[in-house]
């Protein structure tokens, strides 16, 4: 599998820009993961590069979510998980148990399939991260909240009701709120697991636009089962099958000229 990074050429929206060779943020070598006796990830080699959007595609059960959750060690919350191999974040081995996951996770945010705001006000949702990391200053918090919501393209919609429950927001707004919540701790990476699959088309579009607008600041890894979406928003795409990475390359390449027959079959809907 090639680790060369191509310039992305046929993006479907977002400005065209000059991305040169990117530095890998995550490097994965020979990563294996078992849930009890289920071998969910098999010898994964994969990098995720700085300030790119990496899409992870593949049929159900192929290990996409598992890989994503390994990247911030959320996978450890499942009992009986065993991991072997190498996974480094900015050169540091994060599989090392001595590394505090709290630190890692504050740098690597996560957005889930279904929006999961806390049953608190919009403000409290965004302020949650800074608060747990010790920021108590009120003015500072307000500034962070506003900035994060602005980045998440939600500020205008909610600025008049910051202190009402987040549950009053629509699904798409909730999902953007969750992204704002991540942004509030200034993460270096955001992991997204099918962030739009529970949303209607209009909300999906808004979230995709948002991803597009923050990708210059943050590295994004996104799992999606929607091939069009992967093609629309990602720079690079990794195709998983059955716990293996079959192919990982520039999105344009994967969708137009995949090296592997399996990839081609999958892209063309022949299975999955």
């Amino acid at each position: 599998m090639t680790l060369l990074i191509d310039r992305k050429e046929d993006r479907q929206f977002g400005v065209m820009e000059n991305k040169s060779w990117r530095k890998p943020v995550y490097e994965t070598h020979g990563l294996n993961l078992w849930y009890g006796t289920t071998h969910a990830l098999k010898n994964i080699d994969l990098s995720i590069n700085e300030k790119e959007v990496t899409a992870i595609i593949g049929p159900s059960g192929c290990g996409k979510s598992t890989y994503l959750k390994t990247l911030n060690r959320m996978v450890e919350m499942v009992p009986n998980v065993h991991i072997s191999g190498n996974l480094s974040f900015k050169g540091e081995n994060i599989l090392d148990k001595s590394m505090p996951v709290e630190l890692l996770r504050s740098k690597v945010g996560m957005v889930f399939q279904k929006p999961n705001p806390f049953p608190k006000s919009i403000f409290e949702n965004v302020a949650f991260g800074p608060k747990i990391h010790g920021i108590r200053n009120k003015a500072m918090l307000e500034k962070i909240v506003q900035e994060s919501l602005e980045k998440a393209a939600l500020w205008d919609e909610v600025k008049d009701r910051l202190h009402t429950s987040a549950y009053g927001l629509s699904g798409g707004q909730q999902q953007r709120l969750c992204i704002a919540r991540c942004l509030a701790v200034d993460p270096e990476v955001i992991l997204m697991d099918e962030p739009t699959s529970a949303l209607d088309p209009v909300s999906t579009l808004k979230v995709e636009e948002l991803i597009d607008s923050i990708k210059n600041d943050v590295t994004i890894a996104i799992v999606t089962h929607n091939m069009q979406q992967a093609a629309r928003i990602s720079d690079r795409t990794a195709f998983f099958l059955n716990g293996d990475v079959i192919e990982c390359d520039a999105t344009s390449k994967i969708f137009n000229n995949p090296s592997d027959k399996l990839t081609e079959d999958y892209i063309n809907g022949r299975f999955g």
Binding site: L103, S106, K107, P130, H133, G134, I135, M140, K143, I144, E147, A184, V185, D186, E188, D217, V218
Partner: protein, 318 residues
């Protein structure tokens, strides 16, 4: 990652730097965090201490009792005359009273509770259920002392109009009232069990043209049997441990009989009688209190274990 937005300029520090800085100060917090599991474990072990406390208390005095009264006399004796000049300590009259009242209670509670559960889970509309369920729960929330008062001042006189031989204190009336008290418990637990039967299964049967009664009888009840039986066993356990109703309405005659029109004493009522009258330490009767309590404890414990065993066993099956 380099931050290049407003907040950096205004506060000179990026959020990330701030977070890093706060992290340095977190030593105390980490220690606190680390001590939490231990602390909570200590709290959780209170419940174990309680069990140990119960068993130790009961056991130590019971052993003392058996030093004075041979175990065989206690468990096979049909005469209980603790205060007499020639005291006898046979526990069988109490066990008889306890079992009789529990059986009567279950004869009332099991069918009515189960039928209520069926009605609520299979027939009643949402609206009706929303009204009936809290009302039934109210029945469960009535203090047993009130039931005792009710059994003594209302149910017994009422029953005496139909059953001439019925004594003013008898085991029948508190048994029935105890049954009423247990109805909501059985209804609610059985209803839970029946509602947890997959709707798919119910739909499958309805789709074949089964009536609700058939669905209930042939699909829902068999599938929920574990829960239903477990609710019965828990009901029995509750009846065995019930105190105030029998204390007030059944008198304190230590009859060894099958005659439910007569006064009988249960283990619980005996404990009330002895502690209410003579809780001073040292006498044989004082120790008998613990021996009876121990017997009671073992009875209910067995029932609870049985209930759990049943529900677990059936759950494994499907």
């Amino acid at each position: 990652m380099h931050i290049n937005h407003d907040i950096t300029e205004n506060s000179e520090k990026s959020i990330r730097e701030l977070i890093e800085q706060k992290r340095q100060q977190r030593n105390f917090k980490e220690m606190f965090e680390k001590s939490i599991p231990t602390f909570l474990f200590l709290i959780a072990s209170i419940s174990i201490l309680t069990t140990i406390g119960i068993i130790y208390t009961l056991l130590s005095e019971t052993i003392e009792f058996f030093k004075r009264v041979p175990m065989t006399d206690f468990f096979t004796g049909t005469v209980l005359k603790p205060l007499s000049q020639t005291p006898e300590f046979g526990v069988l009259p109490l066990i008889m009273g306890t079992l009789t009242s529990s059986v009567i209670a279950m004869l009332v509670a099991a069918p009515i509770g189960l039928m209520s559960a069926i009605y609520l889970s299979q027939y009643a509309s949402d609206k009706v259920r929303k009204i009936f369920k809290p009302l039934l729960e109210l029945l469960a929330g009535i203090p047993t002392i009130v039931y005792g008062f009710f059994a003594f001042t209302f149910v017994t006189p009422l029953l005496r109009q139909f059953i001439p031989g019925l004594e003013a204190t008898n085991i029948l009336s508190p048994g029935i009232v105890m049954g009423v008290m247990i109805i909501p418990m059985i209804a609610s637990l059985s209803e839970d069990a029946m509602s947890s039967v997959h709707n798919a299964m119910r739909e499958g049967a309805l789709g074949l043209g089964a009536t609700k009664l058939e669905v209930t009888r042939k699909v829902v009840i068999p599938a929920a049997l574990s829960g239903i039986i477990a609710s019965f066993v828990l009901g029995i356990s509750r009846a065995i441990g019930e105190t105030m109703i029998v204390t007030i309405a059944s008198g304190s005659t230590k009859n060894f009989t099958f005659d439910i029109t007569q006064s009988m004493q249960t283990m619980t009522a005996y404990i009330v009688e002895v502690t209410g009258g003579d809780a001073a330490t040292g006498s044989t009767i004082y120790y008998s209190l613990y021996a009876v309590a121990m017997t009671l404890f073992v009875f209910t414990l067995l029932m609870n274990l049985l209930a759990r065993r049943i529900s677990r066993k059936f759950r494994e099956e499907y």
